[in-house]
Symmetry: C2
Subunit: 254 residues, 2 copies
């Protein structure tokens, strides 16, 4: 069995999280894995296609209850990033109403923060991320090119409303918030078609999209939770030069 | 605390492992994280600069003993990749003799495979990887450009001998073996200077080096341990379409 010698960052989300180690993308999962190497393990709990309703029972399996925590690593940072699928329009089975979406996010934050919760974990820092803006020009073209063709399932304005709901829950609960929707929208000059620079199919981030979003996430970590910023965490195991210093019988490294 | 809902792959090695999620590299850590998403977590236990002597006490902290395993994830695959630093020439403090290097590797394999070991884990598959060949032309230039300049610390032939020792231990112990030394040497047309296509400083793999080595590692997994090949492992949590099928009251996905 793997001993819990490093605490963890858990990334809980949909396909935009699941795909964040993809080749050629420099996704935010990969980049966090890199900068937190020897400090915190980064766990991919991304679930392609999932909305917050479907993810609800999985959340409760990913977090250990108070009674079952022996030996397990602490979650130092929990990043929750949903909304891209919840914002699908009814009658898509992925649709979750705006009110229920916000309520699900609140339930997750409360599960970690309420002292009477089975999942109570006061050391766990939480960051909520808003879903990225949708480029309906790209998305429609992608869906219409499928066999059989599908009709547009998301609108620009609906996803914006879900992004605002994430912001509101983060404010209400006083947890970290990375506004992926707004940073990407501004980077695109507030022009929907220009979002193609950051999205590969109108919905999922490409490498440039992940770059913008990663920078915003690291900023949130630094401003809200500097204690878990990678610059402020030591290596769990010492740098190799410590061993050289501790071996005075050996010659200095040439 | 993070519940152990996924078993793990542990990558135990030196800087070539630690850096395997680096940006722009498509390193083997990143790529395993991607293809094993929702199947196995990939843990970075790479230790830049370390040799097998320094790594010995850390190995024993990374693997849970029989007495302390409650709740912990199984290590389904343990990948051990050392030798690049052990092969430094005496009197470098990183130097570990060839005999001790092989003995350290044997000790790790035995720790997992011997029924009387505290770390006994019969379900854990083991793969040993040989260190990559050194391009002494690149390496010398890199070291001489430092301030103060350093002299060459590794030779081509010495690293070859350490690579052969890894092969011999793998054969003796009947565990998986990925011969990074040979696949890179052959890819370079058995020409030392041509190794520059695969090494960025004569020692560490670049993106192309990781590509060649990743393919060889996946081949080893498929041939030796098909039960832990990513194609043969199910998702821990169901694909999202399962939820659609289970919600007959909802309309089909448009």
């Amino acid at each position: 069995m793997a001993a819990s010698i490093q605490d963890v960052i858990m990334l809980f989300g949909d396909s935009i999280t699941q795909g964040a180690w993809g080749p050629g993308m420099n996704g935010f999962g990969q980049r966090l894995s890199h900068v937190y190497a020897r400090k915190l393990d980064v766990l991919n709990r991304g679930l392609s296609g999932y909305n917050t309703d479907w993810a609800m029972p999985i959340f409760k399996q990913c977090i250990a209850t108070k009674r079952n925590r022996d030996n397990l690593p602490k979650i130092r940072l929990l990043v929750i990033w949903f909304g891209a699928n919840d914002a699908c329009m009814w009658p898509s089975p992925q649709h979750v109403s705006l009110g229920k979406f916000a309520s699900n996010l609140r339930e997750w934050v409360d599960a970690i923060q309420s002292p009477d919760s089975l999942y109570y974990s006061p050391q766990t820092r939480i960051i909520l991320i808003s879903p990225p803006p949708v480029n309906t020009y790209q998305r429609r073209a992608d869906l219409e090119s499928r066999n059989p063709p599908k009709s547009l399932d998301r609108t620009f304005e609906t996803t914006r409303a879900y992004a605002e709901a994430v912001r509101d829950v983060a404010q209400e609960k006083q947890v970290g918030f990375t506004d992926a929707w707004t940073v990407l929208w501004k980077a695109a000059g507030e022009d929907e078609r220009s979002l193609a620079r950051f999205l590969n199919d109108g919905l999922h981030l490409n490498g440039e999209g992940y770059r913008v979003m990663y920078d915003a996430l690291v900023k949130t970590i630094g401003e809200n939770y500097p204690d878990v910023h990678f610059d402020n965490l030591p290596f769990v195991f010492p740098p190799w030069l410590v061993h050289v210093d501790e071996a005075p019988g050996k010659a200095a490294f040439p």
